[in-house]
């Protein structure tokens, strides 16, 4: 028998911790999702230019950020990078402190991690373009740029959307790892609360419900976007 006790939710301190936690989780997820999508688009776009050194550079970026755990990236940014230079002086204490806050470190590493995955998603969208469509564009006399913007990009975006949804919902959940470098997001405050009231089970269940709700909203919106953008043959058509 689960003997759940949620009376601690009445404590104003816990309430404000939860609210601040959810807000910070949303902020972190929003910033890193937007940045990751932009990085993904720009990266995939750059890959279409077929410039050898640029391709190698993007390849290196993708390999480094896709193949390392985001937790490691955050710890690295927080404890290592920010101490190599990048210092500001705190006017109150006169001490020099690292320029990048925990939040900034988490946002940057999540953006780069998500961005690396998004480049691959958009690239696969461009590469799986049916050859026949490109040839049809050429036959109709489209220039290379016009063909890309008017034919390839719109189709590639639609092919990539489901993969992007996966990446963004994963990225949303990965924000919880920022608690390790003390970003006061939902998981961080969950830890603060159950370490204070020892209602581990209750806090975990609540946090689980909050994450399920938030990520469900995100995937719902992405599905709506997919449907709205759909055109015959590409994307989930409205039924």
């Amino acid at each position: 028998m689960l003997d759940l006790d949620y009376s601690w939710l009445a404590d104003p301190a816990y309430q404000s911790w939860l609210v601040v936690g959810v807000i910070n989780t949303l902020k972190l997820a929003a910033i890193s999702s937007i940045a990751a999508t932009l990085i993904g688009m720009l990266g995939a776009l750059a890959l279409t230019l077929r410039i050898a050194w640029l391709d190698a550079l993007i390849e290196l970026f993708v390999e480094v950020f896709r193949n390392t755990p985001p937790l490691l990236q955050m710890l690295f940014a927080y404890f290592t990078l920010s101490t190599l230079g990048l210092q500001v002086t705190d006017p109150d204490t006169g001490l020099s402190m690292p320029l990048l806050s925990a939040f900034a470190c988490a946002a940057i590493s999540l953006s780069l991690f998500g961005g690396a995955l998004a480049i691959e998603a958009f690239r696969s969208g461009i590469e799986t373009m049916p050859r026949a469509i490109i040839e049809a564009g050429q036959a109709l006399g489209y220039s290379r740029w016009a063909r890309f913007w008017r034919i390839e990009a719109p189709i590639a975006t639609r092919i990539s959307l489901p993969a992007l949804t996966n990446i963004l919902s994963n990225l949303f959940k990965t924000t919880s790892q920022a608690s390790v470098i003390t970003v006061p997001e939902l998981m961080y405050y969950a830890g603060q609360i159950y370490n204070d009231n020892f209602r581990t089970m209750e806090v975990m269940i609540l946090v689980l419900v909050i994450y399920v709700t938030l990520v469900s909203i995100l995937t719902y919106l992405m599905a709506r976007l997919e449907r709205w953008m759909a055109f015959p043959g590409y994307g989930k058509a409205a039924s």
Binding site: A13, F79, T83, L95, A102, T182, G191, Q192, N195, F198
Partner: protein, 271 residues
């Protein structure tokens, strides 16, 4: 036979809860012939790793003494490293028999576990800050970033009462590092640990900036309702106090001699 009747009675009155089931932990320990103890490994002088990588400390000696009293040999012990944020769960889930892990007595904890006798009266938290820091009163830390550890019992007081911007890390190592990086203006933690830290060569330009505001009793923890085990452990601790063992361990691990321990040794010895 009698046991099963007892169980049936308890069950019928609706009293057969988790605490009743684990009432015979002491029997389990004796059957297994080993005491499983949750201890700290990063918390000098109570429980830490020496240069050979062995777990040593004041509470380790105490745990070994209890094992000797219960099972006849201080070798019949398994030391399980725990941290503040998991020790209660480990105990409650049955992975440990008892914890001797710098456990402060508090009403909230008393609701989920039972405490043994209080063998130490430790100073509560203080703040470690750079030598130059002018923040010597707790109130001065309002709105400022202060490093801490997740799971410390005073964390809520720090944010709600003193209004600190508490930056709580998973472990001490990370918090010390962040303090050195000036990510916080000070670090709030158990006073004795911080005092020992200032004796280390790399920490000489740091000081205890804000003094402890309270002294808190510390005890071992057993599962809620584990009364038989609690009494056996209390007896063992009492015996150790009477023999002056706790004073010996204080000296062995460079702890300042505390009045509390001396007083208890005297009372226990007189009996």
């Amino acid at each position: 036979m009698f046991k099963s009747i007892g169980f049936a009675l308890l069950a019928s009155t609706g009293l057969l809860t988790a605490s009743a089931v684990c009432a015979d932990t002491l029997d389990t320990i004796k059957e297994r012939d080993k005491l499983v103890v949750g201890v700290k490994t990063d918390y000098a002088p109570y429980g830490y790793l020496n240069d050979d990588g062995e777990i040593v400390g004041f509470e380790i000696e105490l745990a070994k003494y209890v094992a000797k009293e219960l099972l006849g040999s201080e070798e019949k012990i398994e030391l399980v490293p725990v941290v503040a944020s998991n020790r209660i769960d480990f105990l409650a889930s049955g992975r440990l028999d008892v914890i001797f892990a710098t456990l402060g007595i508090s009403a909230a904890r008393d609701e989920v576990i039972d405490f043994t006798t209080q063998y130490v009266s430790a100073a509560g938290p203080s703040i470690l800050a750079p030598e130059a820091s002018k923040l010597t009163e707790w109130e001065q830390y309002e709105g400022r970033p202060v490093c801490g550890i997740q799971g410390s019992y005073f964390n809520k007081k720090m944010t709600e009462e003193f209004g600190m911007n508490l930056i709580a890390f998973k472990s001490q190592t990370e918090a010390y590092r962040a303090l050195k990086d000036n990510r916080c203006v000070g670090m709030v933690f158990d006073d004795m640990t911080l005092r020992l830290k200032t004796l280390e060569p790399e920490w000489t330009d740091y000081k205890i900036a804000a003094q402890p505001y309270e002294f808190a009793p510390m005890g071992g923890g057993v599962r809620e309702g584990d009364t038989v085990l609690k009494e056996a452990i209390d007896k063992a601790i009492h015996k150790a106090e009477g023999e002056g063992k706790l004073i010996e361990w204080e000296a062995e691990f460079n702890m300042p001699a505390s009045e509390y321990i001396a007083e208890r040794a005297k009372t226990a010895g007189a009996e």
